[in-house]
Chain length 216, copies 4
């Protein structure tokens, strides 16, 4: 059994993909998200514009692919307690948000919102994955007996992600204190969950594709 044999014609060079990704990051580092032009990326990467547009339909898609590739969520380790799990997750989120920088993230988010296709892909490949992690984590707590039932994961996600996002992106506060905030958020959320403040998911409002999550 073969895996995608290569139909014919010259295969895409991985070197080009690498160069594009590096160039995107370099140009953003140099000129910011606003100064990110396709020509600049092509020039920096030593690559033709056509090679970029052969891979990505628009500049936004390119940026999305390059920048969000780094942000891929990893499966959370079991720390033994709900608070520990939540703490690990919020720390990871803080880490990810800190990376690209506030300016980049707002620009990227705006671009994602403007393009319906990107929006869907963002929801599916990023938000849904994170939500899946949260679900896993909550189920573990139920198994342990820390929780009696599973609350709405979307609300939990908002409670966890929101404060960190606000701190780093909206308020533009000191990123050094993000870890501190991460722990605070984890504690607050743990309290809320164990106090049964959150309703269960009764209205079924999945981000996009709930079935695509657990199988992963």
């Amino acid at each position: 059994m073969a895996t995608s044999k290569h139909a014919g014609g010259r295969p895409r060079e991985q070197r080009v993909d690498t160069a594009i990704a590096a160039a995107v990051r370099a140009v953003i580092g140099e000129s910011g998200y606003a100064g990110l032009t396709v020509d600049a990326v092509a020039a920096t990467a030593g690559v033709g514009k056509a090679s970029i547009y052969r891979r990505y339909a628009t500049k936004q898609e390119m940026t999305f692919a390059v920048l969000l590739h780094d942000l891929r969520e990893e499966s959370p380790a079991d720390t033994g307690t709900l608070h520990g799990d939540l703490s690990a997750l919020t720390e990871q989120i803080a880490e990810q948000l800190r990376g690209p920088g506030a300016g980049t993230l707002t620009g990227l988010l705006a671009d994602i919102r403007a393009d319906p296709e990107l929006r869907t892909r963002f929801a599916e490949t990023f938000l849904a994955v994170e939500r899946g992690i949260i679900t896993t984590l909550l189920d573990r707590a139920i198994t342990r007996g820390e929780l009696t039932h599973r609350p709405d994961a979307a609300l939990v996600q908002a409670l966890l992600l929101g404060p960190l996002f606000a701190w780093l992106i909206v308020l533009d506060e000191d990123s050094a204190r993000a870890t501190e905030l991460a722990h605070l958020v984890a504690t607050v959320a743990t309290n809320a969950l164990t106090a049964n403040l959150l309703p269960t998911e009764t209205w079924s409002t999945p981000v996009t594709a709930p079935d695509a999550v657990p199988g992963r």
Copy 2:
């Protein structure tokens, strides 16, 4: 001493200001934030481009002025309890975020982040006001005896604003449930505050003047 006497020449028509503001909203409603061009605004408003640029230095400034004028925070009413006050505030925040739509807010936020001057004005005229409200609210709770000391307002702001922002803007969840989330957030925050989970503001991190940090 008179206030802005009008030095000479034809005075500006207020009609033009109104038309611009209306046109900005109309164009965004029609074509989204991405389709918001100065030419489109001028044409829709029946106004020359020069009249726009006589008022605002850049397109971003125009958008900022028009869209964030509505969002001016109002002084909070004293509901008698900390939880009531927080609930009123989060509801107000939810209301404001629901208004312009997610696409508009992300775009606007990106533009604000890209322009240092706008960033400062955003922090001063919006974030700082909101933070002031929070401070007022916390002081009231201390007076009532609900709190023993005043925790860091920036952290409180992140905890209150964040989940709503995430829900409406990042996760793009059902805006009808925003009120529900607002109450949840208020409750969670009240619990955290009364449990003394938040540290007091020891590092002095004002929103408006990061350069005022004493370490300098």
Copy 3:
């Protein structure tokens, strides 16, 4: 009666028109017709590309307008004899063909042929004018009694223009001898005309409307 009053808005600057025309000629002189790019013209003229495209829909239209403006036919002087008139005309044609250079003319001609609209304009503004001159000239000869009837002007045009075009453009022969050839052509044509070798225009074949030809 006024001549196109200027409806409103900033008027086109004639300086730009002039600069574009000069730049087109400069770039062709520098890099040949093949090296004539819109960007080069814009840069040389110190003009934005948009200002070029505001005037001309395509590069070809620009080239057409600039290069064929010089070639405008002037009304022929009456020399007193048919041979003298023809000689003056062929000399003028030779002069015009010699000007832009063979490479430019072939390129321009190819572009004109490729665009139906340009083709029509070329026929109307250039070929038809030249043919009108020929008609005038023949009528004069009839008045003088040198000719008994007016032969088909299209055939005369082919006989006069053709050899010079072939010599300079197709065969790329010595342009210094073009004047000699012009006189020869005039003499040969005079002989043919006075010998009544050419038929009268019976089929009605206007330059501008070739589709009206019945034989098709």
Copy 4:
């Protein structure tokens, strides 16, 4: 001694040459000379682009080779009179010019003029051959006693080729009348020649290689 033995490796398939030639003509017929792209030719021919570039260095060379292969001049038959010979030649020229269509010829001519190498080859393989034919024809007339001396062949060529070229290519007149014009041109040229209007070739201005012609 063998002719090009084939050093090793797979020999070129003649099928490919044929397919390319057919495709060039097909694409021109479909999209005109302007729409003649190498990719289109390759796709139409069912051939890789590399196979085209293995045969021709540039697109222009390909076009040249394919389109001018048909136009090869054939040796003229002796009709017994100068006028008959000239008539046969002009008819043949008219036939050749009628074939590819005006748009194609102007485009091709422009490309030939732009490339020095093609220009040389065009002069040598096409113009010089035609001039050789004219020379032969004139010599025959001298032998017959119709002419007393041999006039400049380049001038004769211009007189013969020019009007037909102008009629079909520049003026874009009815190609059905080209034969009529061919006879007219032959008559006019015969008159001019027998009237000794043309000078002999005193300045020696061969197209390219005069010695390469007669020996054939």
